[in-house]
């Protein structure tokens, strides 16, 4: 399970963006989180990906309570969650080729030996040709770069995948292709998916269930909106 309970987070303690939000996600389940822009859903996604320390609330990942965020989280916990961000330009180190970009998590975790095999398996799956793999981010389109970013998020075979507005910058066919890649990974690995976005049509087609931001955030009200079984109330 990936459980967020009454999480309050933000960038200014006096005015948190996310107030007492609770969410829970079962293995193999796909959950769409709908919200207007600026509501704090990306911040919540960063909390769930262990990239942003909340002011209050708890995150439990596979039964283990999360005690530290960013570098303070144990590597095994951090790498259990794969993340795809909204803007591929900003989430790719401009000095790396797409091949290095995809291989980066393997190198960082000391699994250099698997690089060739994993990249060779993932690149065709996300639709990148060998020629594209040798290019740098500024030499490819947003869609191609986002394909590489998705491959990077999948390269360590995470048990959880968080897609934060993954397709907001992309055209319909690339969106369909990336969603298909995520879905086939989920079928094959049984990973849980949290898809954050503002496109109701897309999320309702894509995910097992979709919740609105209002339903899971309960400012001032200390009740748990999402049951542990993942049933939306």
């Amino acid at each position: 399970m990936l459980e967020l309970t009454r999480v309050t987070a933000g960038y200014d303690r006096r005015e948190p963006v996310v107030r007492e939000v609770s969410l829970s996600l079962a293995p193999g389940e796909s959950l769409g989180l709908l919200g207007p822009s600026g509501c704090g859903k990306s911040t919540l996604a960063r909390v769930a990906a262990l990239l942003h320390r909340p002011y209050a609330g708890t995150v439990v990942l596979d039964g283990e309570p999360v005690r530290g965020w960013r570098h303070r989280a144990p590597r095994a916990q951090r790498t259990a969650v794969g993340v795809v961000f909204q803007q591929p330009r900003l989430s790719a180190d401009p000095r790396l080729t797409l091949r290095e970009l995809i291989a980066q998590p393997l190198r960082a975790t000391g699994r250099r030996a698997e690089v060739a095999d994993r990249v060779a398996a993932l690149a065709p799956a996300v639709g990148l040709t060998p020629e594209l793999l040798e290019r740098r981010p500024h030499e490819v389109s947003d869609g191609q770069l986002q394909r590489a970013c998705l491959a990077r998020a999948l390269v360590l075979r995470p048990r959880w995948l968080i897609c934060d507005e993954m397709t907001a910058m992309l055209d319909a066919s690339t969106t369909a292709a990336l969603v298909a890649v995520v879905e086939s990974y989920r079928r094959e690995s049984g990973a849980g998916l949290l898809a954050v976005g503002h496109d109701r049509v897309l999320l309702e087609r894509w995910c097992d269930r979709t919740v609105g931001w209002q339903e899971c955030s309960a400012p001032g009200a200390p009740q748990e909106v999402m049951g542990p079984g993942g049933q939306s109330s």
Binding site: R46, A49, L50, L51, R70, H71, R75, R78, T79, V81, G82, V83, F85, Q87, L90, S91, A92, D93, R95, Q104, P105, A108, T109, C149, R152, A153, V155, L156
Partner: protein, 285 residues
Amino acid sequence: MAETDFGPARRTTRRIRVTASAGIVAAVLLAVLLVPPLVQLDQQAVDLAAKLRPPSWQHPFGTDDVGRDLLLRCVYGLRVSLLVGVVAGLTATVIGTAVGALAAAFGGWTDRLVMRLVDTFSSVPHLLLGIFIVAMFRPGVGPVIVSVALTHWLSTARIVRSEVLSLRSRPFIDAAISGGASRGRVVVRHLLPAVLPQAGLAAVLMVPHAMWHESALSFLGLGLPTHQASLGNLVQTARGSLLAGDWWPTLFPGLFLVLPTLALAGLAGAWRERINPRRRSELML
């Protein structure tokens, strides 16, 4: 639009400037590296019978007040000034990069403390601080380098800190952390490579600046010992002769200081435009 209007003309002048700068820098490097080993003349050789001779075929730059050949003195002086400039510039850049990167990487109180320290140092004119530092030692190359290096890391620290701060919050750092990268890996693989061009540029820009400081300190009689040829010392000892109407002992060391430093600064400027295209496009507008 600016590209088509006056871009090409400007680009041509820039090319001329860069070529001239590169030529001067190359000539300077050749002179300081090759002349001393190849020309077996003693730059310290005193010939009182030939003192203060104007430029001639025998002494192209003339001779100084004790009859030493000025061309040779200038080359040796440039060698010393360049050595001081390069070593002090590099040291200052390394200190600045380390301080700036650490302040930004740790953040919080460390950052605040370090940056207030930088402010404090910056509030004192750096030549004054430099004079204070050299005054504590016997004259020599070492103290001058220490003095210039210790007073010139501040701006580099500021630049590197702001650069690292802006990089640190980019999603690609988040992606690296999420991919299991350790703190050290993030710094070595993602942050440092991004700031190195800026730091390298700061180092190159610092070299001519440091040369001027060496000259200023020597001119004030605080830098290198007077018998050692350095551009500052040469100008300093030439002051007396200038009043008597002998212009060459001032002019040639002065040119030796101005031309190479301008050339180095010109090259560094061209490099800055190259690695920072946004600045280039701003200049074009």
